[in-house]
């Protein structure tokens, strides 16, 4: 029972991180029309930047997190303009493989700069608070709270601001949005910034609860994709929900099977989801077919 509670906490933490990482992928998929395989590498970049700010520059973790987020967001926009914009008209295959190429490029560059070693954040978030039946670290609480705040902010941004409304309009029908005179470039920049910044933030969080290493992006990409597919790739709230669900599923499964099978569990949930609800668990939107 105590183990159950503890794993629910872990699952909540994993799920929160997964949710903010997946929602960015899903936003890009919706407005730009392709799956950005390099999304996971932006997450790794966030982790490395955060780590460098804290360990080498002795920066406060909150400041480091915020700064990493902003920087990764800017990197995302720059990459969108110089790498993705030129192939925008070449179709989804070209865009997808450009993103794979970019993933390798970023992966290689990060290994040259940051090395191939595994490192840990030198922070004191590890102190455990004894809350009756369960232990929680301050860091874990902060992650869940920050994730909730970020999601709330994102929801407000999407529903209350003009730019947010444009993004939603573009996401539901890019062609129509273009015809209606919505400023496509501004929407695109905003989406890339928000999505990349969220990936960067997720990277810092992943680094905080675990470790920082160059392979991070590849393993995370898989789980992020699984969450995005389960959420139906479309609805932002569906993806948030399935991110949480997948996080819980992975950590609760640790009660029955060894933790090294986490990715296998994620894949099992994905296959099950596809068999039961091919459109995604939380969405029934029309599919796009040629």
């Amino acid at each position: 029972m105590i183990d159950d509670m503890q794993n629910i906490i872990f699952g909540l933490v994993t799920g929160s991180i997964l949710a903010i990482a997946s929602v960015g992928l899903s936003m890009i998929r919706q407005t730009e029309g392709f799956i950005n395989i390099a999304h996971g590498q932006l997450l790794t970049l966030g982790a490395f930047l955060g780590y460098t700010f804290v360990s080498a520059l002795d920066m406060n973790i909150f400041l480091a997190g915020l700064l990493s987020m902003l920087l990764v967001g800017i990197v995302g926009v720059v990459l969108a303009v110089i790498v993705f914009r030129p192939v925008a008209r070449s179709g989804p295959l070209a865009q997808l493989f450009t993103s794979i190429g970019l993933a390798y490029l970023l992966f290689g560059v990060m290994r040259v700069i940051f090395g191939a070693n595994v490192t840990f954040f030198p922070t004191s978030f590890g102190t455990r608070l004894d809350l009756g039946p369960v232990n929680v670290t301050v860091g874990e609480i902060l992650i869940v709270v920050t994730a909730a705040a970020v999601v709330a902010a994102l929801a407000l941004f999407l529903s209350q601001t003009r730019l947010g409304t444009w993004i939603r309009a573009t996401a539901s029908n890019p062609e129509l949005a273009r015809l209606r005179g919505i400023p496509v470039n501004r929407v695109s920049h905003a989406v890339w910034f928000v999505a990349s910044a969220l990936a960067g933030l997720a990277g810092v969080m992943v680094g905080l609860i675990g470790n920082v290493h160059s392979e991070l992006g590849w393993t995370q990409t898989l789980i992020i994709l699984a969450a995005a597919v389960l959420g139906g790739l479309g609805s932002i709230y569906g993806v948030l929900a399935s991110g949480l669900l997948l996080g819980l599923a992975m950590d609760l499964s640790a009660l029955v099977i060894p933790t090294s099978y986490r990715t296998v569990v994620a894949f099992g949930v994905l296959i099950l989801g596809l068999l039961l609800r091919p459109q995604g668990l939380f969405v029934s939107a029309g599919r796009r077919e040629a």
């Binding site: 997808l96 450009t98 290689g108 040259v112 191939a116 994709l225 596809l274």
Partner: protein, 312 residues
């Protein structure tokens, strides 16, 4: 001098292996339109089943059937086909990205399983002592030439097979419904059955050729089957020309010569990490540039299949 020569023998052998993988990928992705990002997983299934069923030296695993080599190749092939069936049926019902993501996830799962199921796969240590075919014919450097010949013989066989499939009504149908599924269905074509059959055939082939890769590397460990295998194969196909006939072979040769040339430069310690990383950077830049400036590749589908009605 002979060291450099042998190095290139190795590169051309590896290029041959990637040419085979790229031709199989061209069948499923180029012609049938199924974007498989998990072929490394199918190769892994074939490779592991082959080595587990045939190896004679490692006795600390729970499965040691000591089968003859041909039976192991067959078993690996069947296992590859079965794996394709299991992931193909649920993910091909919904088209497009779902297949792509499921296959990518599948490959990662196979890799995780190969790490975790140590009692069967020897975990990250893997298998490193096993015999290779025709070893009595040549040793040392001589065997490298023999393997080169064997691999390129398979390249020719697979090429002829793909030619046979590509120029048949079956290949025509695949290249048709790839771009327009509703019209194919309106003509009474059960397109999903063709897709699943094609993916299973690809699985059988990946499984069957996996031993070549195993013989070339001389070890079987999980790190052999990372998604890098998948993406190198895709890059080779894309460079050479997707949906063409000769493109996969040309692309594999060019790509492997470019990326492996980087490893000619020897380094130690941190320098080795940098050099290894340069390979990824080169791979990434090549892919981005090809997509930007020559998305159809060096050869193309148009020329490969031009003038098909010539007979009359």
């Amino acid at each position: 001098m002979s060291g450099v020569l042998l190095f290139f023998v190795g590169v051309i052998t590896l290029a041959g292996i990637y040419a085979i993988l790229a031709m199989i990928l061209n069948l499923e992705a180029g012609w049938a339109g199924m974007w498989d990002l998990g072929l490394a997983g199918l190769v892994a299934v074939g490779g592991y089943v082959f080595i587990i069923t045939t190896q004679q030296t490692h006795e600390d695993v729970i499965l040691t059937p000591h089968w003859p080599m041909w039976a192991g190749i067959l078993a690996g092939s069947v296992a590859g086909g079965l794996a394709a069936l299991i992931i193909g049926v649920p993910s091909l019902r919904v088209r497009g990205e779902y297949f792509l993501i499921t296959t990518l996830a599948f490959a990662e799962v196979i890799r995780q399983l190969s790490i975790n199921l140590g009692s069967v796969t020897r975990g990250t240590v893997g298998f490193n002592q096993f015999s290779r075919p025709f070893e009595s014919w040549a040793t040392g450097a001589g065997y490298r030439w023999l393997l080169l010949a064997l691999v390129w013989l398979v390249v020719v066989v697979v090429y002829l097979l793909m030619r046979r499939l590509g120029y048949s009504p079956y290949g025509r149908l695949l290249r048709g419904f790839r771009d327009n599924d509703p019209v194919a269905r309106s003509l009474g074509k059960h397109t999903n059955r063709h897709r699943i059959q094609t993916f299973v055939l690809a699985g059988l082939l990946y499984g069957a050729v996996a031993p070549l890769y195993v013989w070339f590397i001389r070890t079987v460990t999980p790190s052999l089957f990372t998604s890098e295998v998948t993406f190198v194969t895709w890059t080779a196909l894309v460079i050479g020309g997707i949906a063409s006939l000769r493109g996969p072979v040309i692309g594999a040769l060019i790509l492997l010569l470019v990326t492996e040339a980087a490893s000619l430069v020897q380094g130690s310690g941190e320098m080795a990490v940098v050099l290894a990383s340069v390979r990824f950077i080169v791979l990434g830049i090549v892919l981005i540039l090809v997509m930007r400036f020559r998305p159809e590749g060096l050869t193309n589908e148009r020329d490969a299949f031009a003038g098909a009605s010539g007979k009359g």
